[in-house]
């Protein structure tokens, strides 16, 4: 298993596409931080996604990772997760190399698990890369300060949040955001076992999240929405806007674990039975 993990990781990190992806993941925070700095005098007018955090962001570079994660988590990190997972088996099938891997006495279940673990590891690494890059650029542009949450803005209690607390929130938030696309990795891997087209597997995975978001917006569905992979995706942001940790973080982790268990198992089950025709 260790050998398979090492081989799969090696294959992925030696891809030009992976290096470009990580380059973009590090470069985008610079753009976001620079844009925030440029609009510093106009904050308070923004009400779009990330608006609350944008309002606060000028106080400290320690908030920039939160702003960046808020902006990048829904689509960009989702696509990255879908890419690593959706390409893992289908990509190798499309080049024909999969049949040669499976001609070796290699357990198919172990191979799928190795690819799942590597896709998860790369997705986590991608999220941490965003967070760390945003922290570096944020501190460079806005400094290393504690933050005062003004009561007048959001109706909460005015409170100072120390740098230590912000760092603690940052680690928790980054881990949560990384984990919040776990379902995408599991779904992507499952689709990757179904098709020899990596683009198809990646597209289907993103489609699942888009459909999930749409269904999540239909309030009359009530509790049915709680099992959707996107339902708890941004509950972490209250740590930065209100200095409170939502109990929904746990619910979000449970939902992601459930999707991981179901679609990870489905992927292994299907791949162990699949005829390789590529």
């Amino acid at each position: 298993m260790i050998a398979l993990l090492r081989i799969e990781l090696y294959k992925q990190i030696r891809r030009t596409r992976t290096l470009i992806t990580f380059g973009v993941l590090i470069g985008l925070p610079l753009l976001i931080v620079a844009a925030t700095k440029a609009r510093e005098k106009r904050v308070g007018q923004g009400a779009r996604r990330g608006g609350r955090l944008f309002v606060l962001a000028k106080q400290s570079g320690l908030l920039m990772p939160a702003v960046t994660l808020e902006l990048m988590s829904f689509l960009f990190l989702l696509i990255v997760a879908a890419m690593f997972a959706g390409d893992s088996i289908a990509g190798e099938a499309s080049t024909g190399n999969l049949r040669y891997v499976l001609i070796r006495p290699v357990s198919r279940a172990r191979l799928v698990l190795a690819k799942l673990i590597v896709a998860l590891a790369l997705t986590w690494a991608a999220t941490f890369a965003v967070s760390i890059a945003a922290l570096g650029f944020g501190v460079a542009f806005f400094g290393w300060h504690s933050v005062v949450l003004p009561s007048s803005l959001f109706g909460g209690t005015a409170a100072a949040v120390s740098t230590g607390t912000l760092l603690s929130h940052l680690v928790t938030a980054t881990m949560y955001v990384a984990f919040s696309v776990t379902a995408a990795v599991a779904v992507g891997l499952f689709f990757s076992t179904l098709t020899d087209s990596p683009a198809g597997a990646i597209g289907a995975t993103v489609g699942v999240y888009i459909v999930s978001s749409i269904i999540d917006g239909i309030d009359p569905l009530g509790v049915l929405r709680y099992g959707l992979p996107t339902h708890y995706s941004d509950v972490w942001s209250t740590m930065f806007t209100d200095n409170t940790t939502s109990h929904d973080l746990v619910a979000g982790v449970v939902v992601q674990c459930a999707w991981l268990a179901v679609f990870g198992s489905l992927g292994v089950w299907w791949f162990r039975r699949k005829d390789i025709k590529s």
């Binding site: 050998a3 398979l4 090492r6 081989i7 090696y10 294959k11 030696r14 891809r15 030009t16 190798e92 080049t95 024909g96 190399n97 049949r99 040669y100 891997v101 499976l102 001609i103 070796r104 006495p105 290699v106 357990s107 198919r108 162990r272 039975r273 005829d275 390789i276 025709k277």
Partner: protein, 303 residues
Amino acid sequence: MSESPVAVMGLSKRFGSVSAVNDLSFTVEPGQVCGLLGPNGAGKTTTLRVLVGLQRPSAGRVALFGQPVSFGAPQLLRVGALIETAAFVPHLSGMTNLRLWWEAGGRHLDEADTETALAIAGLGDAVDRKVRTYSAGMKQRLGFARLLLGRPELLILDEPTNGLDPGEIREIRQLLRRLADGGATVLVSSHHLSEVEQTCTHAVVMNHGELVTQGLVSEIVGANHGVYLEVDDSDRALQILGSIAGVHGATVEGDGIALQQESGSRSDLVAVLVAAGLRVETITAQQGLEEAFLDLIEGEERR
């Protein structure tokens, strides 16, 4: 269960409503170089894919070295396979591809026969280039290098000379002979019937997923009974041949005699002619494998 390197027993494989292979049985014994022949769609590749554990049989069994084949079966370590075109991770070098493929089986590259494999590949410094820069022929040669890493006892090859130039095809033919001489067993499917005739000792002929015939290539080639021979005295030979049971239609053709032999072997004819004091310069089946193959397939179609 038979200890034969390859045993196919009543194999059937269906894809939905399409039957790719139907009740196919044959064996390949140690040291044989067996050609798997058939027109497109005969089920050759499907049979080979089942043999190397890429697909499950719908019915029947396949075994390698006496052990049933399943996905990831341990006896696959004793097999070198080339299924359709050679394929690799394109963004890695040829050498890295060989290393990763070998290590995926849980073994260190030191245990592999890298020297022989690289000598066969003959890629020189290009082995350190990314595979995406390779020509089709270079990939196919690297594919041969990969399958030889484990000093395989059985080679399963599906159209192995696709993409190779005539010189490379001859090298592969010589390689297969060397491997067979060294005790390896080879099962090879090919459309190049002249190549099979020169390389293979045995053949299995398939059509529409079913077995048409199997046996020695020489027997299959001679199955339509046409014989051509050259002797020092053709007139006397014609008289003698006319008196042999099962021989008919003997006529002078060019410098020799053409005839039909319904029973016995060509060596029987030689024995009779030599016993009569004639010198036999040449004796051969009057057709090649290609004609025999087409006769077999057309005969099967008419049924």
